[in-house]
Amino acid sequence: MRGWRGLLVGMLLIAAAGAALLLTDRSGRRAVQAATARRVAIIQASSIPAFDLSARGVIAALEAAGYTSAGGSELRRFNAEADLGTLNQLCSEVANAPFDLVVTIGTTSGQAFMRANKRSLPHVFGVVADPASLGVALGEWREGARPPNVTGMGALIDLPQLLDALRASAPHVRTIGTMWNPSEANADLYAKRLLAEADRRGLKVISASASDAAGILEAATGVMAQPIDCLVFLPDTSVTIASPTILQAAQKRKVPVIGTFPESVDGGSILNLGMDWAGIGTQVGEVAARVLGGTPPSEIPVVDRPKMAWTVNLASAAAFGWSVPQSIVDGATIVIAADGSRREKRLSTPRVQVIAYSNAAFTDEVLAGIRDGFIEQKLAPGEGIELSVVNAQGDMSTLNQLVVDSVASQPAVIMSISTPSLQALLKRNDRIPCVFTTVFDPYVTGVGTEPTKHHPLFTGVTSHSDFPRLIEVVRATWPGAKRLGTVYCPSEDNSVAARDELATLAKAAGMDLISSPAERGSDMATAAEAVISQGIDVFTQISDNIASGSFPVVGTVCDRARLPLVGTLTRFINEGAVIVVARDYHLIGVQGAEKAASILRGADPATIPIEDPRTSLLLLNEGRAKQLGVTLPASIERQLDRRVP
């Protein structure tokens, strides 16, 4: 029968995969562990800010309770990335691995793990609006209410509290409008609760539903076209996405807004009762720590007291003649005062979000510098601050999404690495203090016009090359040099600015800079040859996003022409440069962390000047210098930071 051989190979592959799974099955091989060394799995079904923040909160609470990797514990995160088949497999894998405890974040992961948990591993669930969907009843354990190995926390936003605040602030409100996506877990539940609670308070509800963010926007427009006194945002991912646009539309139509998104306060929403997701994660983590400490899950009641936070916009309240009770204002984490000024109160460990654009070599150096800088500032990651890092891996659309997510997650400070990250932040961030690093010329991005005159939320450290020193080294090493050369990228502002600055400094030193454009890495060799064909004495290659990845090509072309090549990144010393005058990216990270630490301690970013890196490094490739017959004058040789054989 045709094809049977392939079928046999397929079955053999399945057998091999099964054998690999069996051989790597650690469920029966539990190592001897220290008393506090535990293995904890944290499962989430997808990557949405609420789940991510909660998972971080869980980890922070467990680490605070002593379950750290240094102490031998393993806190392992699993994410099914919104694929339910994968979630099913993740849960089976975890249920059969030697974990001491499993924490699930969200409803579907809780449901999937409860089904898979045949060995009755201790299970703590969190971020579940309705524990009944897991077959779990609130309160103390009793037979039939829940399995004895399960406990956790409900996370239902207190809509009655929100409506009571509305009645207290605006007694004249009679009709409220809302919209929701009924396909989202919990959104339907909240909509029904809103109807019931509003009815109880004599409020009429006009509502509309839609299946995605665009539809929600249309639904909101339709609702606002009707005679409503106030619009209410319910917890719903589609509404979250559409909320900034809906807020703008509401302002135009002069419709006051309240809701459940704390961040909407900046867009004009008057009263916002939202979840402190990181705080809720911490609460769940504390329950998990109790279970790890020996308390049986059956002895821990399932409660529904999520950590809530008010945010209040008094300026919008005044515009609509509302009067928000002082008790709410006093307890709010963010208050926009009647004059528009913003006051923020922090509840948990401050989080610093780092956004990197690509995996360029300097990214790791800057990151290491940022970590070391925070340690120097007595704000070690994991202790004084929570440091999270995201990387767009060179994809601009991903970068934009990361920036949107990062701003929405409301870290205390955002730090950016490289120019595109700063530019994306400038476009999409209007509330979180930002410290940029590794930006050659921040002023071309529009962040400011000079070190002390900049965007009130942004400050940072440039990666401005030390061109004066480079010119000094060239001048001293090749006294007869008259013409320098470089390749630049015309579409990259930083590259053009670098070329212009180097040309100006060279001119001042009595030299000309010959340059040729390259728009992509594949153009680099041709451009370098074009520069050399015009007769130059030294190739002084500036660093930009193109040259950074294609420097070895310039090295090869210069080798062929037996021309000395001077670079501006440390790694260029191994990629064809004879001399490198480079910024120390580790130190740039340290300087950035210093600024971020100042902001965390209360300094206003508007008052912190933008700085250039404090030092630069001078490197020599001795082998290449010998080949080219280059001898450094003693004055330059004394300054060398490193020699590469």
């Binding site: 045709r2 799974l21 339910l84 894998e93 089904r115 299946s211």
Partner: protein, 320 residues
């Protein structure tokens, strides 16, 4: 062992989706995107009926019928209203989104503690093993995991057998021929539109059955569970085809979908086992599948050896 059996059970259940996709995409050559909606429809219908007290087998059968109706809707749009096939599928999928919410009454239905199609086998395994665990190769495996794998295997083999039988009947042969050459089948006086309708109904019934079984395997149905399921079905079909080649005999082709589905889940399980970063999971899965698809051909090309060659060369194109 539990993980291996759970993975096999999942692969077998999703093989039903593979068969649905096989019928529409390969046999009929119809790019049917209804699948994303009919999978959830099957899960939603079965879950709602089971929670209402219906027997799980009847609920699953009705779920399959609901899937067939979804396929009928797509087929009518494509054949009677002249709407492009892919667009007809998108329209059905879009409408099913709301229908599924209506069916469930909310976005998520839990089935914890509800009797499922796997329960009778579980009871049998418990009785035979004398407890809630079965010893397999020295490892204790929960009885319901064994029951799920056995039930899924029997169900999928029966369905594959029925499919084989059907595709060899006069009607089934016409269906296959209709996908290959609609003009010829029309010339023979057979209505191609009717064949498309039948094929899509059958395909979506299988997908919905897969959705119903999946919901019972997971103990919940969710409005978003069908998103991207067509890709999983296609992966099963394509991996299977890469193993046996296009010219394979019909029973081998049908078996290849099953093998492809289980192998795909096995590869995902290995990707999970490697302990990678959570966000890298999908990428690693894609790479592992890519390796399985590419390495045998590359090995043959580089070494000239057919040791790893999976494809059967030559011969006429198989029936589908």
């Amino acid at each position: 062992m539990t993980v291996v059996l759970s993975t096999i059970a999942l692969g077998l259940v999703l093989a039903l989706v593979g068969y649905g996709v096989y019928l529409s995409f390969r046999v009929l050559q119809f790019p049917d995107l209804t699948v994303d909606g009919s999978f959830t429809l099957g899960a939603a219908t079965a879950a709602a009926l089971m929670l209402a007290g219906w027997d799980p087998f009847t609920a699953t059968a009705i779920a399959s019928l609901a899937g067939a109706l979804a396929g009928l809707a797509t087929a009518l749009m494509a054949t009677r209203l002249g709407i492009e096939g892919i667009l007809a599928g998108i329209l059905s999928m879009t409408a099913l989104y709301s229908i599924n919410l209506r069916v469930m009454g909310r976005s998520n239905l839990g089935l914890v503690g509800v009797s499922t199609i796997f329960s009778p086998a579980d009871a049998l395994v418990r009785r035979l093993a004398g407890g809630a665990e079965v010893m397999l190769w020295g490892q204790a495996v929960p009885s319901d995991v064994v029951a799920q794998a056995l039930t899924a295997l029997v169900a999928v083999l029966v369905i594959a057998g029925i499919l084989w039988w059907f595709l060899r009947t006069e009607l089934g042969s016409a269906l296959r021929a209709g996908g290959d050459n609609p003009r010829m089948i029309r010339a023979l006086g057979v209505s191609h539109e009717w064949l498309v309708t039948l094929g899509l109904m059958l395909g979506n019934a299988l997908v919905a059955a897969g959705g119903a079984a999946f919901a019972q395997l997971n103990a919940f149905a969710d409005a978003s569970m069908g998103i991207g399921i067509v890709v999983i079905g296609l992966a099963s079909v394509i991996i299977g085809r890469a193993l046996v080649g296009q010219a394979a005999a019909l029973p081998v082709l049908l078996a290849s979908v099953l093998v492809g589905s289980v192998l795909f889940r096995m590869l995902v399980a290995i990707a999970i086992r490697t302990g990678l970063e959570p966000n890298d999971l999908r990428m690693i899965t894609a790479v592992v599948v890519l390796i399985v698809l590419v390495v045998p051909g590359l090995f043959t090309r580089l070494t000239g050896s057919k040791l790893l060659s999976l494809r059967t060369k030559g011969g006429p194109r198989a029936a589908a």
